[in-house]
C-alpha cells in the first residue's frame, strides 16, 4: 500500500508540486513577517527557512527530472522561491532582508496560484 501510494500521474505530480511550492511560499512569508517583527530568533528562522528552501529545491529537481519534460514555469518559480528563502537562511536576523523576502514571497505565491489555475 505504501509503495502504491507513491504512484501518481504527471498531472497529479504537477498538482502536488504546485501545492508544495505554494505551501513553502506562504510559510516562508509568515516566517519573514515574524523576523520583521523581531519575534523569530535567528536559530529557528534559519532552520525553518532552510527546510522550506529544501522543499523548493526538491520540487525544482522533480520538475527538471520529469519525463516528458516538466512545466518550465514551475521550475523557474521553484528556483526563485529557493533563492528568496536562501536569503533568509543567509540573513535570518536581518529585518530588512526579511521585509524584501516577504514581499517577494507574496508575489511568488500569487504567481504560483495563477500558474495552477
Amino acid at each position: 500500500v505504501f509503495l502504491v501510494s507513491g504512484c501518481v500521474s504527471v498531472a497529479q505530480q504537477d498538482e502536488m508540486n504546485m501545492d508544495r511550492l505554494s505551501t513553502a511560499a506562504d510559510d516562508g512569508s509568515i516566517l519573514a513577517g515574524l523576523i520583521v517583527n523581531g519575534d523569530a530568533g535567528s536559530t529557528f528562522a534559519r532552520a525553518h527557512a532552510r527546510e522550506l528552501q529544501e522543499d523548493a529545491d526538491r520540487v525544482r529537481l522533480s520538475v527538471a527530472d520529469a519525463q516528458p519534460s516538466g512545466d518550465q514555469r514551475l521550475e523557474k518559480l521553484a528556483e526563485e522561491l529557493s533563492s528568496t528563502l536562501g536569503d533568509l537562511v543567509a540573513h535570518p536576523g536581518d529585518p530588512a532582508v526579511a521585509r524584501r523576502a516577504r514581499a517577494h514571497l507574496k508575489v511568488l505565491s500569487q504567481a504560483i496560484a495563477k500558474t495552477s489555475s
Binding site: T23, A40, H48, E51
Partner: protein, 406 residues
C-alpha cells in the same frame, strides 16, 4: 487522600502525555486544510482510546495479563504472529518518527545538525528508560508535556470562532482528502502502542482491584483533557493557516503558530511541551516494542525485573531504539514517517484490540469486573469504528497520495 492525589497526578500525566508527533502533525494539517471541519473526529478518537485503555487496564487488573499475552492465548499461532509483526512494525515506525521529531525540535531551538540531535535525543531516551522508574517517567514527560497547553492559550488569545467550532463538531461530508485527514485524526488518537504500554504498565506497577478507580479516572479524565490540546492544535492552525490553505509540512510550522500568536514565550513553551510529549511517546513506543515481543515469545519481561532477570526483554528494548535510530538515519522525513505510522496503526488496531474486547466481558475470566451494559456495547461499537478505519485508511492513503491530492 493518597488515592485522590494519585488520580490527579495520573490525569495530569495523561493530559500531557496524550499528544505525540502524530497528533501534532495530523491535527495541524487538518486545521490548515479544512479549518474546523475535522474537529468532530477528535472526540471520536478520544472516546475510542478511553474505551480501550479502560478495558485494557481492567483486564490487566483482573487477569494479570497484558495485551500481547491475550493475543497469544486467544489467537491461533499464525494469527498471533501476524498481530505481533504488525504491532512491532507500527511501534518501530512510530518510534523512529518520534525520534526524528525530537531531533528536529532540538535543531529548531539550538541550531546545529538535526542528525546529531537525533543521536542526543536517542541517548536521553535510552538513559531515561533505563534510569528512571515509571512514576518519574510519567511525571517528567507528562508534566513538561503540558507546555502544549500553550496551544489552548493561543486559540483563546486569537478569539475562537465558537459558532464555526460548534459546527465543526458535527460530522460533515467532503473530498477524499478530507476523509483521509478525518481517518488520520481518529487513528492518531488510538495508536496501538498506547494500549500495549498501558496494559503492560499496569502489570509492571502491580495494579490490584484497589487501582480500578485510578485506572478509570486516568482513562476517562486524562485522555479527553489531552484531546483538548489536539482540538486546540486544529483550531490554531485553522485560525492562522486556513486563509492560505497552508498545510504544515514541518514541525517548525506548528511551533511558528504559537510564535505568531504569543511571541517567543509561546514558541519556547510549545517547543518544550512538544519535546517532552514526543519524548514520552518515544519511551512508550520503545517499551511497547519490547513488551509485545517478550509477551508473545513468553520471555521474562518488565522494567522491575531488571536487566539481568529479563535480558532478552532489555535487549529488545535497546534493539528497538537502535532500529528506529537507523531508520531515521536513512534521512526519511519524520513527518512522512508519522503519516505512514498513523495509517499503519489503523490497520494494526483491530488485531490488537479484539482480544481485549472479547475477554473483557468473559465472566469466568473477569469475575465481577466483566464489562457491563455500557462498556460492552461501547467496545463493540468502537470495534466497528476501528475496522472501518482499518479498511478506509490505506485506501484513502493511496487515492489521495497521503493527503496531497484533493
Amino acid at each position: 487522600m493518597k488515592k485522590y492525589t494519585q488520580i490527579a497526578l495520573g490525569v495530569i500525566a495523561a493530559l500531557g502525555g496524550f499528544v505525540d508527533i502524530g497528533e501534532l502533525v495530523f491535527n495541524s494539517q487538518a486545521g490548515g486544510n479544512f479549518g474546523y471541519k475535522t474537529l468532530w473526529a477528535i472526540p471520536v478518537g478520544v472516546v475510542g482510546i478511553v474505551v480501550y485503555a479502560e478495558l485494557s487496564g481492567r483486564v490487566a487488573i483482573a487477569t494479570k495479563k497484558a495485551n500481547m499475552d491475550l493475543v497469544r492465548e486467544r489467537y491461533p499461532h499464525w494469527l498471533s504472529t501476524v498481530t505481533l509483526i504488525f504491532g512491532l512494525a507500527v511501534c518501530l515506525i512510530t518510534l523512529s518518527a518520534e525520534l526524528g521529531g525530537m531531533g528536529l525540535l532540538l535543531h529548531y531551538v539550538l541550531g546545529w545538525n538535526e542528525g546529531f540531535f537525533t543521536l542526543v535525543g536517542l541517548a536521553l531516551m535510552v538513559a531515561a528508560s533505563l534510569v528512571l522508574n515509571f512514576g518519574a517517567i510519567e511525571r517528567v514527560f507528562g508534566y513538561l508535556g503540558l507546555g502544549l497547553v500553550v496551544f489552548v492559550v493561543a486559540a483563546l488569545h486569537h478569539g475562537p470562532a465558537w459558532h464555526a467550532i460548534g459546527t465543526g463538531l458535527v460530522p460533515s461530508g467532503g473530498s477524499l482528502q478530507y476523509w483521509y485527514y478525518v481517518v488520520g485524526v481518529m487513528a492518531a488518537g488510538m495508536m496501538p502502542y498506547e494500549i500495549y504500554f498501558y496494559s503492560s504498565g499496569g502489570i509492571e506497577e502491580g495494579w490490584t482491584d484497589d487501582d480500578l478507580p485510578v485506572n478509570r479516572a486516568n482513562a476517562i479524565l486524562g485522555y479527553p483533557l489531552g484531546g483538548l490540546i489536539s482540538a486546540a492544535l486544529t483550531i490554531v492552525a485553522a485560525q492562522q493557516l486556513l486563509s492560505m490553505q497552508l498545510s504544515p509540512q514541518s514541525l517548525a510550522t506548528v511551533l511558528q503558530e504559537a510564535l505568531g500568536e504569543l511571541g517567543p514565550v509561546g514558541f519556547y513553551a510549545a517547543a518544550i511541551g512538544a519535546f517532552f510529549a514526543i519524548g514520552g511517546a518515544t519511551i512508550d513506543c520503545a517499551f511497547s516494542c519490547a513488551y509485545t515481543l517478550a509477551q508473545h515469545q513468553q520471555w521474562p519481561w518488565g522494567k522491575k525485573r531488571g536487566l539481568r532477570e529479563a535480558k532478552r526483554w532489555a535487549a529488545a528494548l535497546l534493539g528497538a531504539f537502535g532500529v528506529a535510530f537507523a531508520m531515521v538515519q536513512t534521512r526519511v522525513d519524520p513527518i512522512e514517517l508519522t503519516e505512514y505510522a498513523v495509517i499503519a496503526s489503523a490497520v494494526a488496531m483491530p488485531l490488537s484490540y479484539f482480544p481485549i474486547m472479547r475477554i473483557s466481558h468473559n465472566r469466568e475470566r473477569m469475575g465481577q469486573h466483566a464489562s457491563g451494559v455500557l462498556a460492552l456495547p461501547l467496545a463493540w461499537l468502537y470495534f466497528a469504528v476501528i475496522c472501518a478505519i482499518a479498511i478506509a485508511g490505506p485506501i484513502l492513503m493511496v487515492l489521495t497520495h497521503m493527503g496531497e491530492l484533493k
